[in-house]
Symmetry: C2
Subunit: 374 residues, 2 copies
Amino acid sequence: MAAQVPKEFPRQTLGMINIDPLQTGGRLPQESKEVLLEWADGYSVCDFCAGRLDEISTPPISAFVHGDLPKFIGMDEARVTNGARESKFAVMHSMTKPGDTIVVDANAHYSTYVAAERAGLKVVAVPNSGPPEFLIDPQGYVAAIETEKPALAVLTWPDGSYGNLADARAVSRICAEHHVPLLVNGAYAVGRMPVNGSDIGCSFLAGSGHKSMASSGPVGVLGVTEEFAGTVFRRSGRFKNKELELLGCTARGATVMTMIASFPHVAARVRSWEEEVSKARWFAASMEGLGIVQLGQKPHNHDLMFFEAEPLFEMSKKAKDGRYFLYKELKARRIHGIKPGLTRHFKLSTFGVPKEDLKLVIEAFQEILGSRSS
Amino acid sequence: MAAQVPKEFPRQTLGMINIDPLQTGGRLPQESKEVLLEWADGYSVCDFCAGRLDEISTPPISAFVHGDLPKFIGMDEARVTNGARESKFAVMHSMTKPGDTIVVDANAHYSTYVAAERAGLKVVAVPNSGPPEFLIDPQGYVAAIETEKPALAVLTWPDGSYGNLADARAVSRICAEHHVPLLVNGAYAVGRMPVNGSDIGCSFLAGSGHKSMASSGPVGVLGVTEEFAGTVFRRSGRFKNKELELLGCTARGATVMTMIASFPHVAARVRSWEEEVSKARWFAASMEGLGIVQLGQKPHNHDLMFFEAEPLFEMSKKAKDGRYFLYKELKARRIHGIKPGLTRHFKLSTFGVPKEDLKLVIEAFQEILGSRSS
């Protein structure tokens, strides 16, 4: 963490305990920071390109894109993209035509809706079970598919609000029975936990480098089965080696290099996933001991958790800083990641955060709640 | 340049004289490398986001996107994108419908064709004048527009093959007279030379951070006139603050931060453009003294130049390494940037390369040609 402090643009959250779900899986290990500096300049990897990013052999981009990456995510083919949302748009734009309908889970990320809207699609959501768990029942896909005849189905696994992991295999089986290709948005899965697209049985798997693969953003991944690789990765008629949905080349500098440099670290950490889940459950239980209730799946299976904190909401009504009091109290304790203004409902992540730091977070909430009577 | 050498993935071209046009405008100044390290982690800037990347005030992304950037490029509105090609696709996807025709210059970059093909468009090219200058006559747009009734016109300014700067104002006037919006692809202009979209009179201006704005890629810019800002930057119906063509957010980490950190350096260097042009002309004249002919506009007005080298081509026929001999000879002299295998025709750039280094390049060609008789 011995980064030089630049004269301008200091990053105020460096050195704080950061529990923002956007941040916990995106931190670069030291070796990757060195690679970042080495490949900092603009189009650095293009010094070694004969026409296609994914075919560059030195540095070993080709070995990663056509070897390590598809194996890691269990998909026949993979590419590096500019992010999970760009992966999703590429799939939607290839697999549908404007006016088509797609079916998504009600917990889908906003970028799924935005990508669909950009592609001119109608979106129908499979409902969740509502509070307190907000579960997606795979059977919901049956009704939606039979009614809507969608061109594509999407499952957010886990979703970015509650960190719920629906039964992806069941969804996949239902989609297969109805001959609807399934896109799994694994932006909070790939790089955090073991994910194997062929075990799930999905046709497409999107992942996020900056969210969950310890990469400098924006960068993502897209896995595709052999069946649809020719569609999603179709080539230009005029420029035979350029893939249309990637506009030829995507992440062609420091972003792809940090993904590759971080890969051994990422591949190793997913093997400790059970410990991450235990830690998340311990954290949720500790919060519940303070009267802050964990919503979403229980027991929880992911580091991303959503909490309902009525006691903090009540405090905010009388606090000097109003609804900003929690943010300020935590900031004063060098804890970052709960959005300014939130007190009643907020999400956070324990991924990769040391247990000692999480204990400080629990203590902070305890202290803040303890000051109620004053 | 005192970057640490990482254990793995060394960048072999660091420290070499690099005259690859892709590289000369994308090198980061030292202050920007420090910012890169500070903001290295995944989604670093999102710690400070209330919902939209371009509205983040600390670090000063909002001030850049809504202040410095549109002023710098002379456009009403601007955004940061994932690259010039993504900027072009966003414009095409907003301003046309599948089946439409667009008119481009014959020197257009492959990514213009690929973006158009992805958007389902037919592309008609305004021819160039052929060898030796390959000029685009603005009058060519009249015929193409009147015949094809295009939804959009594109001018590559300068083009990436010959570094020719067509009369952009004349093209813009013709497009205006025919009520066809003009997109200028300034990937090799914005950040290298003074560019003012409103002086040109274009509706859209695309620029490249990694190619020409000393930024860590992939990152680009898109300027749009007020008239079309509501179309290109239209928002989602469901998520009211998300812009569809940007899929909500684009460059949200180290890439945008390096663009901002490099901006003072970039804004300063475009004021030395005349010196860059003089240096390019001196270099071209020196090469011609060796029998290597500069094709494209003459006298040349840009650092990107295309050469025809018959003497080197002749040598390659007898050389031990065949057509790779030039690459190897230059590499042995620590000079990089002419693609492996090229001898007869190649492009290079003198942008930001010190004259002393360019003298070494000239001497290298002299030496290589001098060994002919041996």
